[in-house]
């Protein structure tokens, strides 16, 4: 019984649920402030993303007459719940060990594309031509970044698996964290540096920020799949995106820099949050401030040429050494 209660706590309060949502919205607010400073603007208040969602929730839901109604309503729910479940698997080093599963990294890998799939479903259900274009673009960009991601996760699992002697690969996030705490962080391991760079390149693609904001390009296809969404449904999409921000940034931290500062859980928690923030600054904010948008074909070529090759190099190095 208490197991179930604990599981609920992890899904709804920490690290998933409230904590993940609050932290991700704070990160988003900070991201907007940082980019505004780069552009010599003041930027919105830090609380703005939360206010946006609160406002959207009070608005009316409009569904296009030609849309497939059930799918149109389900898509944001699928995206949001998929990511909310993901967030509960994230171990916070020194604070929380994750939900003890053998293959939670694999579960994450399967759940990570869920928001993208939700966007595709919503876009195609909206019956808007912009949604259709957004659908095909989202699918192409997803197919391009999933390959490097798979190789990165495999590399991390293999280096842990080799060391802990479980076998060829260890997909337990807890073991990955424990191994790094005792044997040095992967981000400082020369074998893993290409994989880390590839992960940095994966982040803007999966978060849909420039130069990879192709599926929702406002000036080309008017937000594409998001065009017909408004009110609470759009708010659900934004909550889903917030969870996703938390999941992908935390995954980056726990795979490459999970180190702790001491034994006190509060210090470790803040240290973890600070690392997420630094990761976001380099892979999302800075990139958003200094780049324009690529075309979908250019983005695909980029992912197949650079992150995929970098991740492959790490994979091969880890297999050989």
């Amino acid at each position: 019984m208490s197991d179930i209660l604990w599981a609920l706590f992890h899904v709804c309060v920490f690290p998933g649920g409230l904590f993940a949502l609050g932290f991700a919205l704070f990160l988003k607010g900070l991201d907007r402030r940082i980019v505004a400073r780069f552009q010599r603007r003041v930027g919105p208040p830090l609380i703005q993303p939360l206010l946006d969602i609160a406002k959207l929730l009070t608005k009316e839901t409009l569904i296009p007459r030609t849309a497939c109604k059930s799918m149109f309503m389900m898509a944001p729910v699928i995206g949001m719940t998929g990511m909310a479940a993901c967030a509960a698997f994230i171990p916070v080093p020194g604070v929380f060990d994750g939900m003890y599963m053998m293959g939670d990294l694999l579960v994450l890998f399967y759940l990570l594309p869920v928001p993208a799939i939700a966007i595709m479903l919503g876009g195609s259900a909206s019956s808007s031509p912009f949604g259709a274009i957004g659908f095909s673009r989202e699918m192409l960009i997803m197919l391009s970044y999933e390959l490097p991601l798979l190789m990165i996760l495999l590399t991390v699992a293999m280096i842990t698996g080799k060391a802990t002697g479980i076998g060829t690969a260890d997909f337990s996030l807890l073991n990955i964290v424990q191994y790094q705490i005792h044997h040095g962080q992967f981000g400082l391991n020369p074998l893993m540096i290409p994989a880390f760079i590839a992960y940095l390149m994966f982040l803007p693609g999966t978060m849909g920020v420039p130069p990879f904001d192709i599926a929702e390009a406002e000036t080309e296809i008017l937000e594409g799949p998001m065009l017909e969404y408004g009110g609470p449904l759009l708010a659900l999409f934004q909550i889903g995106t917030a969870f996703k921000t938390f999941v992908v940034l935390s995954l980056g931290v726990i795979m490459f820099f999970p180190g702790c500062l001491g034994d006190f859980w509060l210090v470790n928690l803040f240290w973890f949050m600070a690392k997420c923030l630094i990761l976001m600054f380099f892979s999302i904010s800075l990139l958003r401030a200094v780049t324009g948008r690529l075309r979908i074909d250019q983005a695909m070529m980029f992912y197949f040429k650079i992150p995929a090759v970098l991740a492959f190099i790490s994979l091969v190095l880890v297999m050989i050494v």
Binding site: R41, P210, T291, G292, R293
Partner: protein, 366 residues
């Protein structure tokens, strides 16, 4: 069978009439196959204001105000060319100082207009920081306009027979200071536009308008000059003080978006060169002569607006109301080129390509 399948795989995407990528309402119906545009249909007429008819119900002086409102970004070019066409028809000799002042005004407007287009181009590429940066630099020129003429967009500076008021040395000093502040910042932006790999990846090789097509369609302004055509009214038939200042026509042979971007960027440099010469060489004297009498006559005037050649035609009778006032704007000539540029382009580039002719819907439909 294959053809049927193909027909089934195309669908229509509306670009406009209200679209974030367009500043003004115009409606493109794009027939799209996947991400490739196979055909374009243009529907216009959303902002028709009946201006030519209005002009035939107002007297010559009132029309000065009307023509200024044809367009916003090249408002000065319309008022300027209108003043010239009336002067040509009625044989008014404009004082030399007014010629220089008009040249100065036109070039300040050109810098602001080109920077606006370039900023929008950055925005369409999704490069928000560059958009902000370019608009911030443009703000220097807007400040100049506000300080010198009292207005940021419609300057209301030209009038029949010269200019409405004179600019004193204090104005020129301020202008020179502003240019000193402007140039280093502009060179920075120029460098980004010309060399930034992400911008170049988007604009190099897209929106191609071959030289032969450019000649066939009779395109004007930076669109023509980006396709290697060496045309510029300022050089061909110098008006105002353009015959007395030294500047070059900027041309590029690339025929793509990149070439047109470069043309605009370097034209800003040429404009600054002209402004500096005008400040140096401007003679003293009157700035306006008065219109004494109106007689039946007709005339044409041409000028180079930021978007290309503007032509005004007027026919007067003995009354103060013109019998006919007709003008042709650059965007009208450049519209047709969109058909060529958009053919087989990617949907992603449609907005960028539309922006490259710097479309001015309000003056085309007037």
């Amino acid at each position: 069978m294959a053809i049927e399948q193909k027909a089934g795989s195309t669908f229509n995407i509306p670009l406009g009439p209200v679209h974030v990528a367009l500043e003004e309402p115009v409606y493109f119906d794009l027939q799209v196959e996947g991400e490739i545009i196979r055909g374009t249909t243009l529907h216009s007429g959303h902002v028709h204001r009946g201006m030519e008819n209005l002009a035939q119900h107002r007297n010559l002086i009132m029309n000065q105000t009307l023509t200024e409102r044809v367009c916003s970004l090249c408002s000065n070019s319309h008022a300027f060319t209108y003043a010239m066409v009336v002067e040509n028809a009625l044989g008014i000799k404009v004082p030399e100082r007014a010629h220089y002042l008009r040249t100065l005004t036109e070039e300040i407007k050109r810098v602001a207009s080109h920077l606006f287009t370039l900023a929008i181009q950055a925005h369409l590429c999704g490069f928000e920081s560059l958009f902000m940066h370019t608009m911030e630099i443009r703000e220097i020129m807007q400040d100049v306009k506000e300080s010198l003429y009292g207005n940021r967009m419609n300057l209301a500076f030209n009038c029949i027979g010269g200019t409405k008021f004179d600019l004193d040395q204090e104005c020129f000093d301020f202008l020179e200071q502003s240019l000193e502040k402007f140039m280093p910042q502009f060179r920075e932006v120029l460098d980004i536009f010309e060399t930034d790999p992400l911008i170049c990846a988007r604009i190099q090789g897209t929106g191609i308008l071959p030289k032969e097509e450019a000649i066939r369609l009779g395109v004007v302004g930076p669109v023509a000059r980006g396709s290697g055509l060496n045309i510029d009214v300022r050089k061909e038939t110098p008006y105002a003080a353009y015959g007395k200042v030294d500047f070059d026509i900027v041309t590029r042979d690339g025929c793509d978006l990149y070439a047109r971007t470069c043309v605009r960027l370097h034209e800003v440099l040429e404009s600054v060169k002209i402004i500096k010469q005008v400040i140096r060489d401007i003679p003293e004297g009157e700035t306006r002569v008065h219109m004494t009498h109106i007689f039946p006559s007709q005339a044409v005037a041409r000028s180079e607006a930021p978007r290309g050649e503007v032509i005004y035609y007027i026919r007067t009778n003995s009354t103060e109301i013109p019998e006919r006032l007709k003008w042709r704007v650059p965007s009208y000539m450049n519209w047709e080129a969109l058909g060529v540029m958009l053919r087989n382009a990617k949907v992603a580039d449609a907005a960028l390509i539309t922006n490259t002719i710097d479309p001015c819907v309000s003056c085309t439909e007037r």
